[in-house]
């Protein structure tokens, strides 16, 4: 009920305060009317031509081309005949007599022909904030247009050169292709040889040589064993010969003994009358003994003879063995030769293997080179074909498309709507911001100074409750203003169809949230203001920066980052965004309500805090 009482009180107060009431209704409408007049021109309409001074020091076809391009958008004031025309046009611009001036340097055309970029001097009167950027823009556009014409001729000559280069690439491509084919042939041949060489089995050969070497070793060993055996046999045979000689000697001595015995027997027999019967048995024994001795001598002789024959055989055997030894020695000698040959065979096989590896390595390298050659040839062919394609692609392009690859085909989405149409969604929150700031701050200061506020304090109304009540009350009181502005925007300026009830509710809600925020801020201002004048000035001091930081008059894009942050951190900006989303873009941005509600809460808390901090200061 306190809220209702506050609303009733504030409402009646405003209604009975005729000047305030008139201002509340009339001022916003007057502002809208004035701004509609000021910004009523359609954005698609051309601006009036601007005066641009010219100092053409070149007086060439190229400079004339540029001047002609510029003159389509502006009034060219040619001061080229003036003495020291550069300084002259500069002074004209600096004195505000011209919006801009161009100095075309001497040698302009020649420089372009020589491929040197030409620098034209442009003086801009940037104090004309609104005009200066557009003058600069169309001067740049004119320079670009002229540059295009000059550049297109140059590009066409380049195209011709590139076509020629493309033709030369064709013959290179044939050569490269032939090289590639030859490389492939070399590669095939090498692969075949490589395969053959690789199939050679040196291991078997080496194994066989090892076996031969081993056999040779065995043979040598056998020969050496035989030689040794022969030596042993000869040695034995020599000892046997010596024994035979000893035996012969013994036999000879035995024979001599036997002969002596035989002679003694013969002498004994001769010395006895063998006829005498007494001696007859003796004589017969002697005779038999003699016969035995003679037989023994014969045996000894036989034996001697046999020994001699054996010795002779031994000598033959020895001789044979000597021959055999000689043969063995020869054989051993020959085995050394064989070993030497096997050794040389080893070396040969080894060197042959090394040679094969080298050959294989060389062949691999050659093969790799050939493969690279083929690959490079492929790449080169692709490159040449690609280059040719690129050249074809480049030369098939329009020269203008190269100089100006991006062409604008702009379409004004909002057709021929006026500046005011774009400004209107921002103006309504702006007006309401000032109205609520002024109204809330001055009204509360009045209540404070007339001490009616003290009665509220005396009534022990909690300050947070009073702050909320007061903010809500001012918001309700100003809500007709919201409707009035929305109706005016819809019915007078056609900003949105009034029949679109959801949109109307969206816009009204956004504006009421805005009012709530600025009413709260107005209460904060009032709490610290001694008089209505102070509150009014404080509202201006706060409101004007918010206006400039809101992006209405000056885009955020041109502001320093901290200011952008500040600008976006005010309740005005989200309200403008909400209005733009609804009116201009017809896509109501409901999410912005969250931001506005947060601002409302924060500012309401601040308002309560401000009231609390100022209570009892008197």
């Amino acid at each position: 009920m306190k809220l209702l009482a506050e609303i009733e009180k504030d409402g009646k107060t405003f209604l009975r305060e005729r000047r305030t009431l008139i201002l509340l209704i009339a001022a916003p409408l007057i502002v809208l009317l004035v701004l509609a007049g000021v910004f009523g021109k359609a954005t698609t309409e051309k601006a009036l031509p601007t005066s641009i001074g010219l100092c053409d020091l070149d007086q060439s076809e190229a400079s004339a081309l540029f001047v002609e391009s510029v003159s389509s958008h502006s009034n060219i004031m040619d001061y080229s005949d003036e003495e020291n025309c550069g300084n002259f046009v500069h002074s004209q611009v600096s004195q505000g007599k011209l919006s801009a001036a161009i100095i075309i340097p001497k040698g302009f055309q020649e420089g372009i022909a020589d491929g040197v970029s030409q620098n034209m001097t442009v003086f801009l009167d940037n104090s004309r904030v609104q005009i200066s950027p557009s003058v600069e823009a169309f001067l740049k556009a004119a320079a670009q247009g002229t540059g295009q014409e000059i550049g297109s001729g140059f590009i066409l000559s380049v195209w011709a050169r590139l076509d020629n280069a493309s033709a030369q690439l064709d013959s290179i491509l044939v050569d490269v292709h032939a090289s590639r084919t030859k490389a492939l042939e070399i590669q095939a041949s090498i692969n075949e040889t490589y395969s053959s060489l690789s199939s050679l089995d040196f291991t078997t050969l080496t194994t066989q040589l090892d076996a031969a070497n081993s056999t040779l070793d065995g043979t040598v060993l056998q020969l050496q064993a035989a030689q040794s055996n022969l030596t042993l046999m000869q040695y034995k045979m020599e000892s046997y010969d010596e024994e035979l000689t000893q035996t012969e000697y013994d036999l000879l001595r035995m024979r001599a003994v036997l002969e002596n015995a035989s002679s003694s027997i013969s002498n004994a027999s001769s010395s006895v009358n063998c006829t005498n019967p007494v001696f007859i048995p003796y004589c017969i024994s002697l005779a038999s003994m003699n016969a035995s001795v003679s037989s023994a001598i014969s045996d000894v002789d036989l034996r001697i003879s046999k020994i001699n024959s054996t010795r002779a055989e031994l000598r033959e055997i020895n001789s044979t063995m000597d021959e055999f030894r000689a043969n063995i020695a020869t054989s051993l000698s020959e085995t050394e030769d064989v070993r030497a040959r096997i050794s040389s065979m080893y070396s040969f096989v080894s060197s042959l293997e090394e040679s094969r590896e080298e050959s294989l390595s060389t062949m691999r390298e050659i093969n790799s080179s050939a493969a690279q050659l083929v690959s490079k040839s492929d790449d080169l062919e692709v490159l040449i074909l690609s280059s040719k394609a690129q050249i074809r692609e480049i030369t098939s392009r329009d020269a203008i498309s190269v100089i100006a690859p991006i062409l604008f085909s702009s379409e004004n989405i909002f057709s021929s709507r006026t500046f005011f149409d774009f400004l209107l969604p921002s103006l309504i929150p702006l007006i309401l911001m000032f109205v609520s700031l002024f109204l809330a701050s001055t009204s509360l200061v009045r209540e404070k100074n007339s001490l009616t506020l003290e009665r509220v304090y005396v009534a022990q109304v909690p300050l947070w409750e009073y702050a909320f009540t007061k903010i809500a009350s001012y918001t309700v009181v100003l809500s007709p203003e919201v409707l009035l502005l929305l109706l005016t925007a819809s019915l007078v300026y056609g900003a949105f169809p009034l029949t679109d009830t959801p949109l109307l509710i969206f816009l009204a809600a956004a504006l009421l949230l805005l009012l709530f925020a600025f009413n709260a801020l107005g209460i904060v201002i009032a709490a610290f203001s001694e008089s209505e004048a102070t509150a009014f000035l404080a509202s201006l001091v706060i409101g004007l920066p918010l206006l400039f930081m809101s992006g209405i008059l000056f885009p955020f894009e041109f502001m320093p980052a901290p200011i952008v942050l500040l600008g976006q951190a005010t309740p005005l900006t989200p309200a403008i965004i909400a209005m733009q989303s609804g009116i201009l873009y017809a896509t109501p941005n409901f999410s912005i309500f969250i931001t506005l509600i947060i601002y409302d809460i924060v500012l309401a808390v601040l308002a309560a805090g401000a009231l609390y901090s100022t209570k009892g200061r008197g």
Binding site: K2, A5, T13, S450, R455, V458, A459, Q460
Partner: protein, 351 residues
């Protein structure tokens, strides 16, 4: 800025009352019969001490006057009571309760200035201030109508406050304070700036309200006659302290006796003096070349006897006056300065 000192104040226990006519303190065990009990309140502003050890008990019921020059601290005391200011130190109770939103909602304040919305009518203002106390609807309308009738505002019920006369505005200012039927009504210099006739009317209104409601009325004023006419008890406030406290009669006694001044022809006062001295009640006789002055507790009672002595001695009375000490005299005696002068000086100092 004085440092805040916490003072614990037991209910109904105020001691150390300043001033020659110190107020009797109630027994600690007795239930509080005071509307307000303040103990050693201190309130300072930069460069100025407004209240200094301000102790005062205001009994419940009747009209209590806070008398003092401008800037004495009366309004500051009232602002502290009503929660508009915070004391730096000291303590106070309202109807035996610690100061709180609830206890303060029993107070109705009619400030020195007219505090209402000039663009609203009488009825609208009263309904608005009633709503602040949660009085709404039919009850609010009935209460507003009752006050309008009681305060003689019926003709102005639907007139915008800004169009009303000064007296009517003061009544409306008072009515706004009474909407919620407060137990403690504070009238801060309610008649300042009013013509004598309107002032008299407002006195009647205040007296009627005090009589018809059981509320305690605290009236601050710097008009002695107003305090004397309306207040059962008065506290003299000066320089942030209670200088004296009591009924008007008690206070006036502080200033001295009543005086009977007589002038006659031929004026042989020397032979009259011993005769008058013999009269019962005559305390001091002073003879000057301009007449004879008799000091007595009740000077009026001596008039006929003194007149008879003059006539018996062939003295033709050419001037006779009885003068009683005024509250102004009390203030003079207590502070050594005229209340009007003090008010003027304070105002000049304040400016």
């Amino acid at each position: 800025m004085a440092k805040r000192k916490n003072v614990e104040l037991p209910p109904g226990q105020i001691s150390g009352q300043a001033g020659p006519a110190a107020q009797p303190s109630p027994s600690p065990s007795a239930p509080s019969s005071y509307a307000v009990e303040a103990l050693e309140l201190v309130k300072t502003y930069p460069g100025k001490v407004t209240l200094f050890n301000f102790s005062l008990n205001i009994p419940e019921g009747g009209i209590f006057g806070l008398l003092g020059p401008n800037g004495a601290g009366k309004s500051t005391f009232i602002r502290i009571l009503s929660g508009l200011e915070k004391e730096d130190s000291g303590a106070f109770r309202i109807f035996g309760q610690r100061p709180s939103a609830e206890s303060r909602r029993r107070i109705g304040v009619a400030p020195q200035e007219n505090c209402f919305h000039p663009l609203l009518t009488c009825m609208e203002n009263l309904l608005y201030y009633g709503a602040l106390y949660g009085i709404t609807g039919k009850k609010a309308k009935e209460r507003a109508q009752e006050l309008i009738n009681q305060l003689g505002l019926a003709d102005k019920k639907n007139v915008q406050a800004s169009f009303m006369s000064g007296g009517m505005k003061r009544r409306l200012n008072l009515a706004c304070a009474l909407m919620h039927e407060p137990r403690l009504i504070i009238l801060d210099e309610p008649t300042t700036g009013l013509d004598p006739s309107t002032r008299r009317q407002l006195w009647e209104t205040v007296t009627r309200i005090a009589a018809t409601t059981n509320a305690t009325v605290i009236l601050t004023t710097h008009y002695m006659e107003e305090a004397e006419a309306l207040c059962g008890k008065i506290a003299f406030v000066n320089k942030g302290q209670v200088a004296a406290y009591g009924t008007p009669r008690e206070l006036k006694r502080l200033a001295g006796r009543e005086l009977l001044k007589m002038k006659s022809v031929p004026g042989e006062y020397a032979k009259l003096e011993p005769l008058i001295k013999k009269l019962p009640g005559a305390e001091t006789i002073t003879v000057t070349e301009h007449g004879i002055v008799v000091e007595a507790e009740d000077a009026a009672a001596l008039v006929s006897a003194v007149t008879q002595i003059f006539m018996d001695n062939s003295e033709k009375i050419i001037e006779l006056s009885v003068s009683r000490p005024s509250l102004e005299d009390v203030f003079l005696k207590l502070t050594g300065a005229q209340l009007k002068e003090a008010t003027k000086n304070e105002a000049a100092g304040g400016n």
